[in-house]
């Protein structure tokens, strides 16, 4: 197995184009365990961490650009980013230990295509766009369309996710992500729930997005839950309806981490709780702005 560390996207793509067995990696926090677990070694691993654009985080006007290989600990430590996307920052801060978060990246978390990836529901509720470099130049794809099934993506072999674009949240908007794991740390999500809300001046929900992880082959957007929340004042009935919709949207499996029933039940609970947290965040921020 060869190791290559290209410094440009073109170089990286050329390596992939020349070797159908080569794979890219950023933190290798999934790749190495998979190889230890019996996945055949590829002929080449292409390290993306030497490519500047994949390692940079920038705010240009109202758009964040997050390099696909940036360690998630950089995001959780970025106060401005975290204030804009507290839920996404939390999700990024839940992936494994500090040791893992110093290597793992949003790009890796997405392209590993695990149904349980923590950052993906949080990216999806924030309408994140993946910028993908390929043969015809760059294409911009909603994150929800990148993963097609467990371990499967819509990327061609020589395509690379370069960065994620996230529009700064509009006024009165915030997000939250919750996951259920048996321990407090170091586990894979049994259920994950991301919620983004926009509240109008009266505290009513003017927009809502809900996405669930680990309850289906890919991350699930839950339009029925979004509809239940939208227009409501987050009263108990609306929250219960959203929870029920989330449970209904699940298409989980029984496995070593949880049962079908458990995942359904908890998906609703986490959706309801995440909505509450997102709303609290908006109210707190509005309150602070009102004070100042």
């Amino acid at each position: 197995m060869k190791y290559a560390a290209p410094t440009t996207i073109d170089e990286a793509r050329a390596l992939l184009a020349a070797d159908g067995d080569a794979i890219v990696f950023a933190g290798a926090t999934d790749v190495v365990p998979q190889m230890r677990g019996g996945r055949p070694e590829p002929s080449m691993v292409v390290d993306l961490k030497k490519i500047d654009r994949l390692m940079s985080v920038s705010l240009d006007g109202d758009t964040w650009s997050v390099g696909a290989a940036v360690p998630t600990s950089v995001l959780t430590a970025d106060a401005v980013f975290t204030a804009d996307f507290p839920g996404l920052s939390e999700a990024a801060g839940l992936i494994g230990s500090d040791q893992i978060q110093n290597r793992c990246s949003l790009g890796g978390n997405l392209c590993n295509a695990s149904p349980a990836a923590d950052s993906v529901p949080a990216l999806v509720v924030n309408d994140a766009i993946a910028v993908i470099a390929g043969g015809g130049g760059e294409r911009r794809v909603p994150v929800a369309e990148v993963v097609t099934g467990p371990g499967q993506t819509s990327l061609a072999h020589d395509e690379i996710v370069v960065c994620f674009e996230l529009a700064r949240p509009a006024a009165g908007t915030s997000d939250a992500y919750l996951r259920l794991i048996p321990r407090t740390e170091m586990d894979i999500a049994v259920v994950g729930a991301g919620v983004r809300l926009t509240l109008d001046g009266d505290g009513a929900v003017s927009a809502a997005t809900v996405a669930l992880g680990a309850v289906a082959p890919t991350v699930v957007r839950v339009p029925a839950a979004e509809a239940a929340l939208a227009g409501s004042s987050l009263d108990d009935a609306a929250l219960a309806a959203a929870a029920a919709a989330a449970s209904d949207a699940c298409n989980p499996i029984d496995d070593k981490r949880g049962t079908i029933d458990y995942r359904r039940q908890v998906a609703g609970v986490l959706t309801r709780r995440a909505a509450g947290i997102a709303a609290d965040r908006i109210r707190t921020r509005n309150g602070q702005q009102g004070d100042s």
């Binding site: 197995m1 290798a28 190495v32 365990p33 040791q99 110093n102 290597r103």
Partner: protein
């Protein structure tokens, strides 16, 4: 078998070694450089026994391909003490009986150093979460957490 030449800095020393590309930094440190402090407990980043600080970031050496270290600066457990003095964390671990079998100790010390470098006055909860990537099966963590908190006090208020 072709091997790659890697040059880096380990515990302040300029070093170089030859490695197969697929080898882990952990094996390179242990086998090529004789730095046996970092241990392999799992090989998959789940136990933290191989923790090192590379370019200012706490990482599992078992997840790092050895050639990635080219040009990097690495701190291992062996780099904590000075010639005549242990690091306060090491001293507090000894006095606080924070180790039993000792296999996880180097990883805990490095993870704790990374924590205290960033946060010199952590709460118990912050210590526990910062060390959650390091498994200890002997101590139940009680004496480790106490020792890290005590070391933080000593570092903040040098005698």
């Amino acid at each position: 078998m072709s091997r790659t030449h890697v040059t880096c800095e380990v515990n302040g020393d300029a070093v170089d070694f030859l490695t197969e590309d697929g080898e882990s930094l952990l094996n390179a440190l242990r086998d090529e450089l004789g730095l046996i402090g970092a241990k392999e407990g799992c090989g998959t980043g789940d136990c933290g026994a191989c923790s090192v600080i590379m370019d200012g970031r706490l990482q599992c050496a078992c997840l790092i391909f050895a050639p990635e270290a080219d040009g990097a600066s690495i701190t291992t457990c062996e780099g904590l003490a000075s010639a005549d003095e242990l690091h306060p964390l090491q001293q507090c671990f000894l006095e606080g009986a924070a180790l039993q079998c000792g296999i996880c100790t180097p990883g805990f010390l490095i993870a704790a150093k990374a924590l205290l470098d960033e946060n010199p006055d952590p709460t118990e909860t912050e210590v526990r979460y910062a060390l959650a990537g390091n498994l200890c099966r002997c101590t139940g963590y009680d004496k480790i957490v106490r020792s890290v908190l005590e070391a933080a006090v000593q570092i903040r208020t040098p005698a």
